[in-house]
């Protein structure tokens, strides 16, 4: 796997890109030692480039095809889609947040967005998230394995008990109308254990994700840049 060092020299535009990316990666990682001007430079550059990139992306992928082009086509063909002006005005109103004295008008646009999103998503999320998940919790507490294996049946049943028990105890933990003492307190405590196990799993996965990003950068530095891995 290890090859001789055959560093890519910045002789063409693609290789210059590799050198810039490698330099900026090292600038960012230098923060692990301590804050320094190289890190600050890379940080500010990233913020600036990201902002510019997003403005361009939003203009060409959202504003232009959905509003400007539709209005322009309407004027060209004398088939005016004037109702496109309404979302245009709502968009401009949103920008009024930048003027503190009339910033309150931007709430109209926000109200429109919130109302529309709620209306569109309410049924979809209720059907796909809430009802389907409740259905997924309603499992039989005794399951017979298709091959009749008793140990497998016990294991499958145990898994279903964990699902039902976990949901029940978790719900009790979030039920605040009754004081969490006695039996309710005990069930709520079991609910906490279920939640802690779930947080632990999430944290483990988070570590794996962060390390994956580090591995990705190292593969770039050692492979694409230093050519130590091919």
């Amino acid at each position: 796997m290890v090859m001789d060092l055959a560093i890519v020299w910045p002789t063409n535009i693609e290789n210059v890109g590799i050198w810039v990316a490698a330099f900026l990666t090292l600038c960012i990682y230098s923060f692990l030692y301590k804050d320094n001007p190289f890190y600050k430079f890379a940080e500010y550059l990233f913020v600036g480039v990201s902002a510019g990139y997003w403005v361009a992306m939003q203009y060409y992928n959202s504003l232009k095809p959905n509003l400007i082009d539709n209005l322009a086509i309407g004027f060209e063909k004398f088939d005016y889609h004037l109702w496109y002006i309404v979302p245009g005005i709502l968009g401009i109103i949103m920008l009024l947040r930048l003027a503190p004295s009339i910033a309150w008008i931007s709430r109209w646009s926000l109200a429109f967005v919130v109302g529309l999103s709620a209306g569109i998503n309410l049924i979809a999320y209720l059907q796909g998230n809430a009802i389907a998940q409740i259905k997924g919790t309603m499992v039989p507490l005794w399951v017979m394995s298709p091959d009749g294996d008793i140990l497998k049946s016990i294991w499958m049943s145990f898994c279903n008990w964990v699902i039902v028990g976990g949901v029940f105890c978790g719900l009790i933990y979030f039920f605040f109308s009754v004081e969490h003492r006695g039996v309710v307190g005990g069930i709520s405590r079991i609910g906490i254990y279920f939640l802690m196990i779930s947080f632990g799993a999430s944290f483990g996965y988070t570590i794996m994700a962060r390390i994956s990003l580090l591995i990705g950068r190292m593969l770039f530095l050692l492979g694409d840049w230093l050519q130590l891995i091919r």
């Binding site: 570590i207 390390i211 990705g216 190292m218």
Partner: protein, 284 residues
């Protein structure tokens, strides 16, 4: 005994940069030497995607949505490579879209590379429709009217030009939908909206951070599989018998995990030692 006490005391004030150094070495050394702890186990959720794609009849159409960006490329990109390799190997027709703007370029790059490798023709075997803003609303619209949502491909050519899209009018015309997702909109929306409204089979890959939130959907059979982070991608590469970026990274991943576990154990020993000292009233 005194030396051990000294070591345990020094652990309390261990410079975090030493942990960073060990983590870096745990990544670099396995990558350079190929050393790592092999994992041949294929999880049920990864096997689910592989088996389902194997069962889809050749020439069927599969929609693949690139819902990620360069920030999560090390995790999601190997999944894209693996899934497109499998789809082309199985002679399935691939329709690519993106709900994330930066996902558009990343996904198209893999489609072009793999189409050359498998000798697939643009428009006949695969097509790329590009990015569409709107997230949830795009998926809702695709459920009922595919061509209104994407009237052209990414190069503004009308869809009628492409035989691969013959008879495609709505989401349910696809044999399956795959989403490579690093957030919203992504796999979750494809499951909640796409699957629930049309019944189309949905699966995909996501970053390891978001993987736990998809297990309830797997258990409720709303998804037919899941590739969770680099681990899921490497398992898929194992199933396809290819040596990709995820497999290359998993050796380092396992070594780093061992290092982190070691540091957690050391931190706990130091913690309990300190507690015991306080209980016994020992002062340094």
């Amino acid at each position: 005994m005194e030396t051990l006490a000294k070591i345990l005391n020094s652990l309390k004030t261990l410079d975090r940069r030493i942990i960073f150094l060990f983590t870096a070495l745990a990544v670099i050394i396995p990558l350079l030497t190929g050393f790592g702890i092999p994992s041949k186990k294929i999880t049920r959720e990864v096997q689910g995607i592989y088996d389902t794609i194997e069962k889809i009849p050749p020439e069927s159409k599969v929609l693949i949505s690139f819902d990620y960006d360069p920030q999560t490329k090390p995790e999601c990109h190997p999944m894209t490579v693996g899934l497109i390799t499998h789809l082309f190997r199985k002679n399935l027709k691939v329709v690519g879209i993106a709900l994330w703007p930066a996902g558009s370029a990343l996904g198209e790059q893999v489609l072009i590379e793999k189409s050359k490798e498998f000798n697939k023709q643009y428009g006949t075997d695969y097509v790329f429709l590009g990015y569409k803003s709107g997230g949830d609303v795009v998926i809702q619209k695709l459920c009922t009217n595919f061509r209104d949502t994407f009237p052209t491909d990414s190069k503004n050519e009308p869809l009628d030009k492409f035989p691969v899209l013959n008879n495609v009018t709505r989401l349910s015309d696809f044999a399956a939908v795959l989403s490579l997702s690093s957030g919203d909109p992504g796999l979750k929306q494809w499951t909640i909206i796409g699957h629930e409204q049309t019944g189309v089979l949905v699966a995909g890959g996501c970053t390891a951070v978001s993987a736990p939130e998809f297990y309830p959907y797997l258990d409720a059979r709303q998804m037919f599989g899941l590739l969770g982070g680099m681990k899921g991608a490497s398992e898929y590469e194992t199933l396809l018998a290819i040596k990709g970026q995820a497999s290359a990274g998993m050796g380092a991943q396992s070594v780093v995990h061992m290092v982190i576990i070691l540091f957690i154990i050391l931190a706990n020993i130091s913690y309990f030692y300190e507690k015991k000292k306080q209980k016994l009233g020992i002062v340094d």
